[in-house]
Subunit: 328 residues, 2 copies
């Protein structure tokens, strides 16, 4: 009997929660053949510790220890250290749980000892039993800032500290000019073949999750090279019925001069995405999205439980695979 | 009506638990007129964080948040972060509670930002409402090592990791040659007058708690200068009935060539201590100790509760005060 064909390799571009849910569904399907490239523009230092919210959200989710009730952090998390930090006069608006702190402590020590962000990230993932590989988009520090009507804010001050209340007029990625795609990311992209592999853009914020990944030096050309070899790219809209599933993507689409809809997202992905996945409630937008040159998949994109995550992942892979043959 | 005379100023030299209990009794009597100079030779780095066990034991005790049940750490402490650190493959034989971690996080960040150990220590104490001042013996890193029959060990590996099982053949204080007494310690010593002030050596380990303090550059000469001005020095034996109240001081006295008794301790303090305080169970040793040139106080030195701490502190201050007049 011949061996069963190997599962496809998938490289996912991801921000936080939406990226984590999709990755969870993909990991259930293809296990260690999934590579998730995560945004690091949301990273921040608190209390002298480096925190990587997107990486850690994806990691905790793929490890099965994410806190489903809250939608962030670790299940059963406690906050004793944070309370003590507050007692010492530390600002604690960015809440750090006790278990979560351990992640930041190990990472920060490793970086101070000269380890690369990617290396320590993989070590943490392995310790937690994550089957997929989660790769920071770059080892160099990149810090997203947003311009509001009262001035520039670093991303987490805007996102957590100000609860995304100010309108965003402009986005910049400090450090992006020296940030390079890592060997691990470049190898993962180079390993993609057209037999069944694909690149999937998570339903993450196009401006502050996906854009920084693409802006890393070497990333776009490696993506383009994969595409030129025939590897298809799918992207899932994080806007459903004109509203972001989570976060401020809808308001950013409006304030940054676009349209808060799946169509508005699709316009941002013209030229490097083949398959655009939109929710059934937005099916009226499908013709306009197809007119932009996309193949489309209309389905239920809300990943409300494990089954829904896996089903969406499966449908996306099923829909994107035939495009590989077409692109070759 | 004339003002009541100011309470005496007391400068205590202290290690961990014994020093903390005495300091607690002294603080109850004289509040912010107490300065505790703590050993930092026990300090260590774990998980990239600087831990100062003696300072923190004294601080938590003076803040009233010490864990009386365990004899170390903070009351109501939890260990969620530590469990996660263990999950990441970190060695966790030096157990760090979640609340305790906050202390090390704040301290480590401050030091990396260029703050002195003394400055951040005072900040932490103030935040916890400590009335006395707890001064690290030096701002420079000093690390106690002990030579055992199988080689040199850093202090905490010996003390916690190996549970003080190996015999100690030699003690050295790495970094002591460049460690200087801080301005705060020197000012506290210079401020002592002979009206009622005194220096009190806690019932701490003479070899690894008291000796490193004395070995700091500038410490001994400042102590001698205070003594030369007439400020008396009292020392309390940490050996009762031939056994250390806590820790390996009795076995160190034997293995380092002395005698595991109050008399053995007293011999180490000849020449710079005026009043030697020993427990009633050792009263037979009083004549031999007096023969070494000490005044003596024989009393119950076990500080089993708050009342006992305060009573011992009171008795020591009462007994040492008249020596000031004699020394002038």
């Amino acid at each position: 009997m011949p061996d069963a064909p190997a599962a496809p390799r998938v490289l996912e571009l991801a921000g936080g929660v939406g990226g984590a849910k999709l990755a969870h569904g993909l990991q259930a399907l293809i296990g260690d053949r999934l590579t998730v490239v995560v945004n690091t523009g949301d990273d921040l230092e608190r209390h002298g510790l480096l925190i990587c919210p997107d990486h850690d959200t994806v990691m905790y989710t793929l490890a099965g220890i994410d806190n489903r009730e809250w939608g962030w952090g670790i299940a059963g998390e406690t906050f004793a250290a944070s309370e003590m930090l507050a007692g010492y006069g530390e600002e604690t608006w960015f809440r750090l749980g006790d278990r979560d702190l351990a992640t930041h402590i190990v990472r920060t020590r490793a970086l101070r000892d000269g380890e690369r962000l990617t290396t320590v990230a993989l070590r943490l993932q392995e310790a937690l039993g994550v089957r997929a590989r989660i790769l920071p988009m770059t080892d160099e520090p990149v810090r997203t800032h947003v311009r509001t009507d009262t001035g520039w804010l670093d991303f987490q001050t805007y996102f957590v500290g100000r609860r995304q209340e100010p309108e965003v007029r402009e986005v910049r990625f400090d450090g992006i000019e020296v940030a390079r795609a890592t060997p691990e990311v470049l190898e993962a992209l180079a390993a993609l073949t057209t037999t069944a592999d694909s690149i999937v853009v998570a339903p993450s914020n196009p401006f502050v999750s996906v854009a920084p990944i693409l802006a890393v030096s070497g990333m776009r050309s490696a993506l383009d090279a994969a595409r030129a070899r025939g590897v298809p790219v799918a992207a899932i809209s994080g806007i459903v019925g004109g509203r972001a599933i989570k976060g401020p993507a809808d308001r950013m689409l409006a304030s940054l001069g676009g349209e808060a809809s799946s169509l508005g997202v699709a316009r941002l992905y013209v030229g490097w995405v083949d398959l655009f996945v939109l929710d059934g409630v937005d099916s009226a937008l499908e013709p306009a999205i197809r007119a932009l040159g996309f193949e489309t998949l209309v389905t239920d994109t809300l990943m409300v439980d494990d089954a829904a995550r896996e089903r969406l992942a499966h449908e996306v892979l099923e829909a994107v695979a035939p495009l590989a043959a077409r692109r070759r």
